[in-house]
């Protein structure tokens, strides 16, 4: 049934890893020793054991078929067969290892599943317990409610009976009221009604009497008065539904874009100084010229600036002012219109600019004697800035002029 093999391994350390055993093949590799045996008959390698003691390895190999072995190893095996057997053994070992692994995996999964189910059950139980408690609460509360309602109903019935009784009493009393003091008549009746009062809740019926008293004692309606209020102004950001965020964003975006525009026509401008290529610097120059009264120079500055960047509305706006002074009215109108175009979308940020543009265009129209168009522009300016007295005055003047020409013609 078993074969006992004792293997001396003097000097070297043997570990479980150095033993390799399959059904028909046994190998022990403990450097520098190597022991190999092709077993005579297959053994049950799962149950066989190997004991490692100092210097010795003691094998207990259980035979698969109980029979006497002629020898431990197979004799007369040639190299090839040996090789084949060896390889076979290794393969078998691999397979076995694989099977073991898989078996392990399967058991692991089953364990996991079991654990999961167990936790789920626990949680379920917990939940149910809470639900039950809640249900009980609910039912208790519902019952209480019903009880209270029934009490109310009875109280109501009671009150209606009492009301009738008190009405009778009142009718009898009205005659006496005028002669006697209220208190005196009240006491005996209250006394009676008080005894009936105890079961019902509230003081509804009692107050019927005090109601009469109260009506006489209610203060007169207040004398009408008005209180004026001011509201906290809401600067941007406004209440979301009034906000013009989208438009304001658009405007900011446009401005950013405009600043980045660089005109492609730089060939002639190469001989200009660095600062002369900067539209903002040119704009400032233009403003200074305008302030000094040198309108032509200002126009030149603005022209150059526009060539560099044709998307800055302020350039057109200021150029329009120059043209007005130079009495180039059509050019003024053109520039104001271009400025207005660039000043869309209309947001609080560009209010001032738009007012100026409208006023300048209006002025130009009036000087061309196109008074209706002028008035239109002045009114547009006024709409944006209703508090500006100058614009108002001018608008009035134009209106008079128009009426004058209508009457005159």
């Amino acid at each position: 049934t078993a074969v006992f093999v004792s293997l001396p391994v003097p000097g070297a350390r043997a570990t479980p890893g150095s033993i390799f055993c399959t059904e028909r093949y046994l190998k022990v590799s403990v450097p520098p020793f190597l022991f190999e045996a092709i077993l005579f008959a297959p053994i049950d390698d799962t149950n066989s054991t190997a004991k490692i003691e100092n210097g010795n390895i003691f094998f207990t190999l259980y035979k698969k078929e109980p029979a006497m072995w002629d020898s431990l190893t197979l004799e007369n095996v040639d190299k090839e067969k040996l090789q084949y057997l060896r390889e076979n053994a290794v393969l078998k070992a691999h397979e076995k290892a694989k099977e073991e692994r898989e078996a392990k995996k399967v058991t692991k999964e089953e364990h996991k599943k079991y654990a999961l189910e167990a936790t789920m059950k626990l949680e379920e139980a917990e939940r149910k317990r809470i639900e039950d408690l809640k249900e009980k609460e609910r039912q208790k509360v519902t019952e209480e409610l019903e009880l209270w309602k029934n009490q109310q109903k009875e109280a109501d019935k009671y009150k209606s009976i009492q009301k009738e009784q008190e009405l009778h009493q009142e009718i009898g009393q009205i005659k006496e009221k005028k002669n006697e003091k209220m208190n005196k008549t009240r006491i005996p009746n209250e006394g009676i009604s008080k005894t009936k009062h105890k079961p019902s809740k509230g003081h509804g019926s009692c107050s019927m009497f005090s109601q009469n008293l109260k009506e006489e004692q209610l203060p007169a309606p207040r004398s009408a008065a008005t209180i004026k209020v001011n509201f906290t102004p809401r600067a941007f950001p406004t209440a979301l539904r009034e906000s013009r965020i989208a438009e304001e964003e658009e405007w900011l975006h446009k401005q950013a874009e405009a600043r980045r525009t660089v005109s492609a026509d730089l060939s002639e401008l190469e001989d200009l100084k660095e600062e002369e290529k900067n539209p903002d610097w040119l704009k400032d120059k233009g403003n200074k010229m305008f302030a000094m009264g040198n309108y032509l120079a200002a126009v030149n500055a603005y022209n150059l600036a526009v060539r560099l960047n044709n998307r800055l509305p302020l350039l057109y706006l200021n150029r329009a002012a120059c043209h007005l002074k130079l009495r180039n009215l059509h050019k003024a109108i053109e520039d104001s219109s271009k400025a207005l175009e660039l000043l869309t979308p209309p947001v609080p940020d560009n209010e001032n600019a738009r007012v100026k543009a409208y006023v300048r265009r209006g002025t130009a129209f009036c000087q061309l004697e196109l008074y209706t168009e002028g008035l239109q522009d002045y009114e547009a300016a006024l709409k944006i800035d209703p508090k500006n007295k100058d614009i108002e005055k001018d608008a009035e003047k134009i209106r008079h002029l128009i009426q004058g020409t209508i009457q005159g013609s």
Partner: protein
């Protein structure tokens, strides 16, 4: 999560609910009864008022009243307990007072405002408080008007914007401080975050402040006492609790604010039986129950010796999500502690019971 401490907190139990076929704007308990009133607007553009009775776990429709204009809000605050007349504000700016037994013709009617009446409140009725019954309405036309049902056509007080001022919608109004016959204040909240406190005895503006976001709802914890606390809720999930006992000459009233839900807080309602507990309803369909705790000292002196108030703290007792749509109206029953009704924009009215309020 251990269940025991959680279950000792007040629970919000859903008792009954009813699906409606119209948009519900306001729901109110009829005082001294288990009946409730739902006010709203039907798809065909007319106003609907339905009277339900709570029977067991169901709501039974007792009566349905149809009116030409959609109804936005209503109150029983200014009627006596016997009469129980309902005051309503509608989309057209009309203030009407109805006798629910005979609803064909209003008991009082006035075209109070040019635009929709957003909010209405009543004081002096129901045996609570003293003084003449009055109704206040706040409208989108920026005015707040106080009406006395004995005086026809003109309001007894009118809070309107100064001439030339651009108007802001008034979203909410509330009465307070009605502890004797003369005293009364009206608090109004506007869509730009203004809160204004008008004193009706002196006919002047007593206090104003701005809480940055539109004010959806204001309520005093009690109308009929010396004003104690005021809760104001706003857009973007914030609400402020003001301590109204001490007014500092420049700083006004002390407040504590809390950010509760990510969405608008539509309504705040104090529990009639306990003035330190209130419920807020939110745009995400949730209800939060809060408790206010007073500080050790309610007022202290500042550097110049003037009295200023100290705000306390607010803690969340419970919250529950009932719907996916905003809960726009909320009302506690004055008769049964913990019973409340809420109406949401998903066209359902729900009756809820909040338990364990005795133990707080």
């Amino acid at each position: 999560m251990s269940a025991a401490p959680a279950l000792e907190r007040p629970q919000v139990v859903s008792h009954a609910q009813q699906a409606l076929s119209y948009t519900l704007f306001d729901c109110k308990w009829v005082p001294r009864s288990a009946r409730l009133l739902c006010l709203g607007s039907a798809a065909r553009g007319c106003g609907i008022a339905q009277l339900y009775e709570l029977r067991g776990a169901r709501l039974e429709l007792l009566r349905e009243i149809e009116k030409p204009k959609p109804i936005k809000c209503g109150t029983f605050g200014a009627t006596s307990l016997q009469q129980r007349y309902l005051a309503t504000g509608d989309f057209d700016g009309n203030l009407n007072i109805w006798n629910l037994e005979a609803p064909e013709i209003p008991v009082y009617s006035v075209k109070g405002h040019k635009e929709i009446i957003n909010s209405i409140d009543g004081v002096g009725g129901l045996g609570i408080g003293e003084g003449a019954p009055e109704i206040v309405t706040g409208s989108r036309d920026g005015t707040v008007k106080v009406w006395d049902p004995r005086q026809k056509d003109t309001p007894v007080a009118n809070m309107e914007p100064v001439q030339g001022e651009s108007k802001r919608d008034c979203w909410t109004v509330a009465f307070g401080n009605a502890y004797n016959q003369e005293e009364r204040v009206v608090c109004a909240g506007y869509d730009n975050g203004d809160i204004k406190l008008f004193d009706l005895k002196t006919m002047s503006l007593r206090w104003e402040t701005n809480i940055k976001n539109g004010v959806c709802s204001v309520e005093f914890d009690r109308k009929d006492i010396n004003m104690n606390k005021l809760v104001a809720t706003s857009l973007e999930g914030k609400f402020h609790v003001f301590d109204m006992r001490t007014q500092h000459p420049t700083k006004g009233f002390a407040s504590v604010s809390e950010k509760a839900q990510k969405s608008t807080i539509w309504q705040v309602r104090h529990l009639p039986q306990n003035r330190d507990i209130f419920m807020t309803s939110g745009g995400s369909g949730s209800l939060h129950l809060w408790k206010y705790e007073y500080p050790a000292q309610r007022s202290k002196k500042d550097s110049e010796g003037a009295e200023m108030g100290v705000a306390g703290t607010v803690s969340l007792l419970q919250n529950v999500t009932l719907s996916t749509q905003p809960i726009s109206s909320l009302d506690w029953s004055p008769d049964k502690k913990g019973l409340c009704v809420c109406g949401a924009f998903d066209q359902t009215v729900r009756v809820l019971i909040v338990t364990k309020l005795n133990k707080i």
